[in-house]
């Protein structure tokens, strides 16, 4: 077996060591217990920070589905987050403030946009795909800046968080935290099941060698398009959470820098693992939070760290951790 095939077998679970099955449990256990820890330490900002981490992790896991499993590097993923957020904001501006309406709309709008643009984007490959997804992301960004009735450049303040079937379930930060956690867990499990399914295996096949999959008889583009639409819809979910969390939407949510950050989060943690997307998001946002508290220009430290991670930690933080694990004699 070639190295790539071995790696694929490892990812699919055939050769996967137990540790990998423990990691997601650890991640979600930590998330579940964090509010307790925060109130013990009286560090309430931790809850806000980790809520943010989980919201972006939803989008990052969705992006990893594309980048890590389909080999499609989308440089416009912030657009889906933004569309979801704007769906909440615009509905709320018209007095529709229930999540039973805004959540399906947020996801549907993102999926529709993903479907329409996916048809065009998937004609291209490699770097051209990166750039055409950027192009569509930028188009949505500039449309949002021109929406004068909904704040234009300045963004739109949302009067209150969405209600759920009339109950103000999301009002307390603690409750919102757990709703976000459930969304992330749902996203994670959904993607985990998806990549292990026949669909996921075909998708990985198209990443390894699209021509071969086409020769076997798969309509490669259709599989890629479905993955793109699913990923877009999950981006919309992240946007729904983001709008409710900040009670504010702005075109800045979908600037290309945001799309770039999402890619960095996925790669930093480790591509094609789903766990890595969550860890990368947490590491990125935590580094931003703590380094910016220490030094004004925290990027002067963070930038070289990124370079070092790439040069010396192949496979991101997950890859680094598993090599350390092996060196300690556990494999």
């Amino acid at each position: 077996m070639t190295g790539a095939a071995l790696a694929a077998a490892g990812r699919s679970g055939l050769l996967r060591p137990r540790r990998d099955r423990v990691l997601p449990w650890l991640i979600f256990l930590a998330f579940a217990l964090l509010p307790l820890l925060a109130s013990l330490l009286a560090e309430q900002y931790l809850v806000d920070l980790v809520t943010r981490v989980m919201i972006f992790a939803v989008a990052a896991v969705a992006l990893d589905l594309l980048v890590g499993y389909a080999g499609l590097i989308s440089f416009g993923h912030a657009a889906f987050v933004g569309l979801g957020a704007y769906a909440v904001g615009i509905l709320s501006a018209h007095g529709i403030e229930d999540a039973l309406v805004s959540l399906p709309v947020a996801i549907a709008v993102s999926m529709l946009f993903a479907w329409l643009t996916g048809i065009v984007c998937l004609r291209t490959k490699g770097a051209y795909f990166i750039m055409i997804t950027l192009a569509f992301g930028q188009m949505v960004y500039f449309i949002a800046t021109s929406l004068a009735p909904y704040g234009g450049d300045n963004g739109l303040t949302i009067a209150a968080r969405n209600t759920v079937a009339g109950f103000s379930l999301l009002k307390s930060d603690r409750a919102f935290y757990y709703v976000t956690l459930v969304c992330l867990l749902g996203t994670y499990l959904f993607c985990r099941v998806l990549v292990a399914s026949r669909f996921g295996r075909v998708l990985r096949g198209t990443k390894e060698n699209a021509a071969r999959m086409a020769t076997i008889g798969f309509t490669v583009r259709r599989f890629q398009l479905i993955a793109y639409v699913i990923s877009g819809g999950l981006g919309g979910l992240s946007g729904f959470l983001l709008a409710n969390s900040t009670e504010f939407v702005s075109p800045a949510f979908m600037s290309w820098q945001r799309s770039g950050e999402l890619i960095v989060m996925v790669i930093l943690g480790g591509v094609g693992t789903l766990d890595g997307a969550i860890i990368g998001t947490a590491a990125y946002l935590a580094a931003e939070e703590w380094l910016s508290g220490m030094v004004e220009n925290w990027q002067v430290i963070f930038g070289p760290l990124l370079v070092l991670v790439v040069l010396f930690a192949r496979g991101g933080l997950i890859g680094l951790a598993s090599r350390l694990w092996r060196r300690l004699g556990h494999a």
């Binding site: 770097a127 051209y128 192009a135 188009m139 500039f142 004068a148 890619i263 790669i267």
Partner: protein
């Protein structure tokens, strides 16, 4: 009146176009020959501008500052190549993206630490200040004409270099199939370094030339980098000719779109929706253009590779 305004905007578009070409030329060669996505190319442009300001402060002469800044930009680019980029050529695009993104973060904020966050300015060189009268009583800043002329001169020189010299032949061959070039006994690493250094210098040159007419500030390379990527993707990655045509196209479409979108929209709708939609549509134009080009020609206008 409108004719004059149109001509001024065409010249502005050309000026943006040649500026984009100077940056895109290096980017497309580095990408085409080395298959290396260098996001840090935009900060080389920023660095050129900062170095020009810094050296001007020391020597007080634009020409000397230009030469010194070019040398420094080249040296710094080669240093980065040696320290970081060299280790990334064999990696996949994702690794290159994240590492060069790290370099951007570092440099954008390092200039902030060194020179402060406030924008800096560089005076227009003596003898090139003020405006000239073109035909029809049209006033146009001399320095912008100098930028256009020098950009076109560089383009012509580059065309000659790539078309008629041995190194240019190797570069073209490298953009088409770098493995084959290597198999034929060419030291591809050295070729990479030459191409990289040259591209860095061109981006630095663009930054130096534009410095007198814009404010030099941290992050000024970020948006121009995205435009440069749009240019090389429309032109076809690795193609200098494609980069040149696409750069002028993008420069003109963007500039003319921004100046006339509201007027054109007013023909179709009321003045207030036109004022609202105009700027957004103008900003979107180049991306729409790119999406259409890639839809019709998925490998750009002048594809260099057969794949």
């Amino acid at each position: 009146m409108t004719g004059t305004l149109f001509l001024v905007q065409v010249l502005n578009g050309l000026q943006l176009g040649v500026l984009l070409f100077l940056i895109a030329a290096g980017l497309t060669l580095v990408f085409g020959v080395m298959d290396f996505i260098n996001l840090a190319h935009g900060v080389q442009y920023m660095l050129g501008a900062y170095l020009a300001v810094a050296f001007y402060g020391v020597v007080g002469n634009f020409l000397a500052a230009l030469v010194l800044a070019l040398i420094a930009a080249l040296a710094f680019g080669l240093l980065l190549e040696f320290l970081v980029f060299r280790h990334l050529y064999d990696r996949d695009h994702l690794d290159q993206v994240i590492a060069t993104f790290g370099v951007i973060l570092f440099l954008n904020h390092a200039v902030r630490v060194i020179w402060g966050a406030a924008p800096l300015t560089l005076p227009v060189p003596d003898g090139f200040t003020g405006s000239v009268v073109l035909m029809g009583g049209l006033l146009y800043p001399v320095w912008r004409l100098v930028i256009i002329a020098s950009g076109l001169a560089v383009a012509a020189g580059l065309y000659g270099l790539v078309t008629f010299t041995r190194i240019g032949m190797l570069v073209r061959a490298g953009a088409t199939n770098s493995r084959m070039v290597s198999a034929l006994g060419i030291n591809i690493r050295r070729l990479f370094m030459i191409v990289f250094g040259f591209g860095t210098m061109l981006a630095g040159f663009a930054g130096i030339m534009i410095a007198p007419i814009i404010s030099v500030e941290p992050g000024m390379g970020d948006n121009i980098l995205i435009l440069a990527f749009v240019v090389i993707v429309i032109g076809g990655i690795g193609s200098i000719r494609g980069a040149f045509i696409a750069a002028l196209l993008i420069g003109l479409v963007d500039t003319l779109g921004r100046s006339f979108s509201i007027d054109i929209l007013r023909l179709m709708m009321g003045p207030s929706p036109a004022r609202m939609a105009g700027p957004a549509i103008a900003s979107m134009l180049i991306y729409v253009l790119m999406a259409v080009v890639l839809y019709l020609r998925p490998a750009g206008l002048f594809p260099t590779r057969g794949r």
